[in-house]
Symmetry: C5
Subunit: 155 residues, 5 copies
C-alpha cells in the first residue's frame, strides 16, 4: 500500500514530519510518495498525480491565509480535491489549517500538528481498520482541537 | 435492495441507530451497507464507494460546525454529493444538521433524530413507494422540524 | 414529446396543477412524466432520471427556505441542474421560489403560481416555437412578477 | 465560420442588433446562429446546443437582476458557461450586465451596448486575428466602460 | 518542453515580459506558447487550448477588479482552471492579482511583477527540479509579497 503526502511551500508549518511519523507506525507498513507544490490550489492536480503513481490514499496538507480571498482559494482547492476523489474513487484527507483559526503562531502550529497527526491516523484506519471508525461514529471527534463529545436525545 | 448508510466521527450525534430502526421496518426488507468516515467532506467519495458495493440509495449523515468555514465545508460536501448522484443516477439523501440550527445540545439532538428518521422514511418511499411522495407534493414537509404546511392562491 | 415535471414535498405550494394546466393546452399535445422528491437538492438527479425516461425538457419546481443556509442549498441544487442540462444537452426550466421573496403567504403563493405558469409556457416555446422567444429577446420578461420592460440607448 | 449569439427574454436590453452589426463587418464574413432562452441560467445549455450546430464561438448575452439572489444566479450561469467551454474547447464570450452596475436605465443601456459591441469585436479577434489581442495584453481594456489603462513597475 | 503563457487584455499589468525573462533562464531551455484573451474568465479554455498545443505546464496571468462581482469572476475562473488541470493532469500556475490587494498603482505593479516572477520560477521547479520545492515545504513562501516564514511547535 502506498500513501501519498502532498504539501505546499506556502504553508508556514511543515506537516510532513508529523504525518510521516504516524505513517511509519503503520502495521502493515506503508510506502510513502511525496509531492510538494507552491500553494493549496496546486494540491488537487498534485493529488491526482500521486494517485497515478499508485497511491491508495492521499493526505493533502495546506495552510490558508487570513484574508477573505484566501478562504475563497481554500474553497476552490477543496472543490478540486472533491473532484479528484470522485474521479479516482479514493480518499484524500484534507489537512487544511486556516491562519484565522489561531491567535498566535504557537497556537497555529499546535493546531497544524494535531490535525496532521490525527488525519494521518484516520488515513490508516480508512486503509486497514474501518471498524475503528465505525465504532467512533457520532462521537464528536475533532482534528486540530479537543474532541467535542457526543450528545443524545433525552428519553 | 441494498441501502447505504454513511456517517462521520465528527458528528456529535450518532445517526445510524435512528436510520437503521426505520430501515428495519421496511417492507420489502432491505440490506444495509455501512461506512463511517472522519468528516462531511469525506462523505461524497464514501457514498460513491457504497454505490460501487451495490447500494440503490445512500443516506449520508453529517454534522456541520457552527463557524462560517464549516458552512463552506458543508457546501463542498453537498456539491460532491450532487456530483456522485449525477454520476450514479441514484439518490443520496443528505441528513446534515448544522450546529447553528440549535440553541442547546438537547435541541440539536432532537433535530438530528427527527431529520434522520424522516429521511430514512423518504429513502424507502423513493425506493418502493414514489406515489406517497407525489401525494405529499407541495405540502410543506420538513425534516428536523415540524412541517410548515401548504399555501394556495386565493381565488 | 414528453415533458418532465419534478417537484418536492418541502414546497409549501403545489406547483404541479399550474404546470399541468399549461401543458394540457399544448399544440401539439405533450405527454407528462412526474416525479416528486423530498427537497430541492434531490431535484437534479430526479431530472436526470426523467430524461432517462425519455423527457425532452423538464420543469423543476422547488421552494427555498428563508435562511442563509437555504440559499446555499438552492445554489447547490441549481449547480446540479446545470450539470444535468449540460450532460443531457436538454433544458431544465427552474421554477424556484425563495420564501424571502414574499412578505405573506398570499404573495408567496401568487409568485409561485405566476412563475410556474410562465415557465411552463416557456417550456412549450422552447420545444415547439423558438421564434416567439427570439421576438421577446431583450424585452425584460419576468416570471413571478410583472415584466420589467425594455430599455434602449438614447441616440 | 459560424458564430453563435445566445440571449434572453429576461434582459431589458436587446443585445443582438449590436452584436450582429459588429459581426456583419467581419472579414472574412461569418455566418450567424441565434438562440433566445428565458434567462441567464438557460444560457449554458443553449450555448452547448449552438456548438452542436457548428458554431466556432458563442457570444452569450444576459442581464443580471439587482438582488443578491440574482448575483448567485449569474454565478451559476457563469460556472455552466465555463463547463461548456471546457467540454467543447471553444470560447464563449460572456456579455453579462448587472443591473446594479448602473444608476439609471440610460447608463444601463449604455453599458450593455458598449460591452456587447466590444466583446463581439473580441470574438472576431479570437477567431481571425489573435495577434491583435496579444498586442493589447496588459493594457487595461474594459468592456462596458472606458479602458483602465496600463501600469508598470517603477525602475 | 513547452510552457504556455496565457494572459489578458483586461489586466493593467503586462505580465508576459516578466514571465518570459524567467523562462528564458531555464536550463534545459523551454519553448514558449503564448495566448492572450480578453479577461480572466476566458483563461480556462485558453489554457486547455495551450495544453492541446503540447504545453507541459501553463502560467495563467490575470488581474481581478476591485468590486465584489470581480471576486466572483475570479472564483469562476479559478474553478475553471481547476477543472482544466484535473482533465489534463498538468499544472496551471495561477498568477492572479486582485486590484484590492494594493493601495496604489505602484504597489499593484510591484505585486504583479513579484508574483509573476516567482511563479514562473515555480513552474520551472515543477517541471525540472521538484526536490527544490520539497526542501521549501512548510517554509511560508509568498508570491507577490515577502515570505511569511516558518513556525514550529514548542517542545
Amino acid at each position: 500500500m502506498k500513501v501519498g503526502v502532498a504539501d505546499t511551500t506556502f504553508s508556514r508549518f511543515d506537516y510532513a514530519p508529523v504525518v510521516l511519523k504516524v505513517l511509519a507506525s503503520s502495521k502493515p507498513p506503508v510506502e510513502i510518495e511525496r509531492y510538494t507544490v507552491p500553494g493549496i490550489k496546486d494540491l488537487p492536480v498534485a493529488c491526482k498525480m500521486l494517485f497515478r503513481k499508485g497511491c491508495s490514499i492521499v493526505i493533502a496538507c495546506g495552510m490558508v491565509g487570513p484574508a477573505a480571498i484566501d478562504t475563497q482559494c481554500a474553497h476552490e482547492a477543496s472543490l478540486g480535491l472533491q473532484a479528484v476523489q470522485l474521479a479516482e474513487c479514493k480518499h484524500i484527507l484534507e489537512v487544511f489549517v486556516h491562519m484565522a483559526e489561531a491567535k498566535s503562531d504557537t497556537e497555529l502550529a499546535s493546531i497544524c500538528e494535531d490535525r496532521a497527526r490525527k488525519h494521518a491516523q484516520n488515513a490508516l484506519w480508512l486503509l486497514f481498520d474501518q471498524k475503528v471508525l465505525q465504532q467512533r461514529a457520532g462521537t464528536g471527534r475533532r482534528q486540530g482541537r479537543e474532541d467535542a463529545g457526543s450528545i443524545s436525545i433525552s428519553r
